[in-house]
Amino acid sequence: MASKIRVATTSLAGCFGCHMSFLDIDERMLQLAEVVEFGRSPINDIEHCTNCDIGLIEGGVCNSENVHVLREFRKNCKILVAVGACAINGGLPAMRNFIPLEECLAEAYLDGIGVENPQIPSDPELPLLLDKVRPIHEVVKIDYFLPGCPPSADVFWKFLTDLLDGREPSLSYELVHYD
């Protein structure tokens, strides 16, 4: 039996909504499992991305950890896919781009309503925030884009089956949504 196609997924500055939508392919997951195995993914709790064919990235890049994870995916995936509005254009998390980071942090940790013991967290374990949330194509090279908030289960299905069957992936009008 030919080796299975390895797929890894992750969510950066996202809400996991795209992952939920992916799971909405429901029973088709069984069909998929016949030809696909999962590398790093929240679905299986594998922590690192190694040697994969396809990487699906949900969410934009908002902090230094996102950059590291995204690079790990780029390095280990033959095909990297931006999944959902946030990965493609920053999405709703990018709404903070219109407020200076300094003000965001101050509001959250220093002088916002209800803040006790005001201080900016400084534990080295914590990733630092970038001054702006970025779409992932501004940080690494991206091969495909699946728009939607989230992309519907059918989008995942169509895209993956196209790829697995060796077709150039394409999305019909009904499958293209930004909301």
Partner: protein, 239 residues
Amino acid sequence: MSNTITIDGNTVPFEDGQTIMEAATAAGVYIPHLCHHPEFTPHGSCKLCTVNVNGRNCSACTFPAMEGQNVLNNTRELTDDRRKITQMLFVEGNHLCPGCEKTGNCQLQAVAYHLNMLDNHFPHFYPSRELDASHAEVMIDHNRCIFCTLCVRASQQKDGKDVFAISGRGLNKHLIINSQSGLLKDTDLEATDEAAHICPTGAILIKRTGYQVPIGERIYDHKQIDQVSLETEHPRHGE
């Protein structure tokens, strides 16, 4: 001799004084556009309606139809370029569809769907733009303005007012409001004005009407803009 042009090889009749866009629409040929609206003086700024006329690029909405024109509209090259121009509009402003009430009814989004635009391609500018919610019934989110001037023209040409204008130069272009405070509340704009409804994007919205039609059941959720455009912009195709 009868007045005809060809569009993508098909013969299309025109009347003297018609633009290429008008002749095309009358013949049921859709040419993508955002700043054009049949009721108002053509503007020619969005450049989505660029067609190739005898080897030269022209804006279909402003260029007069003339005998002997061989117009290319629905070509791979033009579609690719129109997609990039649409992507330019997306990165210039802050178009975050999931959080916009206009989603599904938005012409910018619909044109992008029509052109199979899957990403924004260019780096984002993420400009800082204001929101004007001062008016009791109408709000403006400048993040979504694409400077089509439809509100400017509708206010002047239909409402007999002069509520809006475009100011500034280059990328600093912005919509301004004709009141001493610069706020919408101090203008004579009413929610029933054409100008309050003409916005192709979600930049001008009527308050307290949000989400009356659920997402998924909106204009462009199931119908492409070419069809909708021909139905609404030319009576014969709307029957």
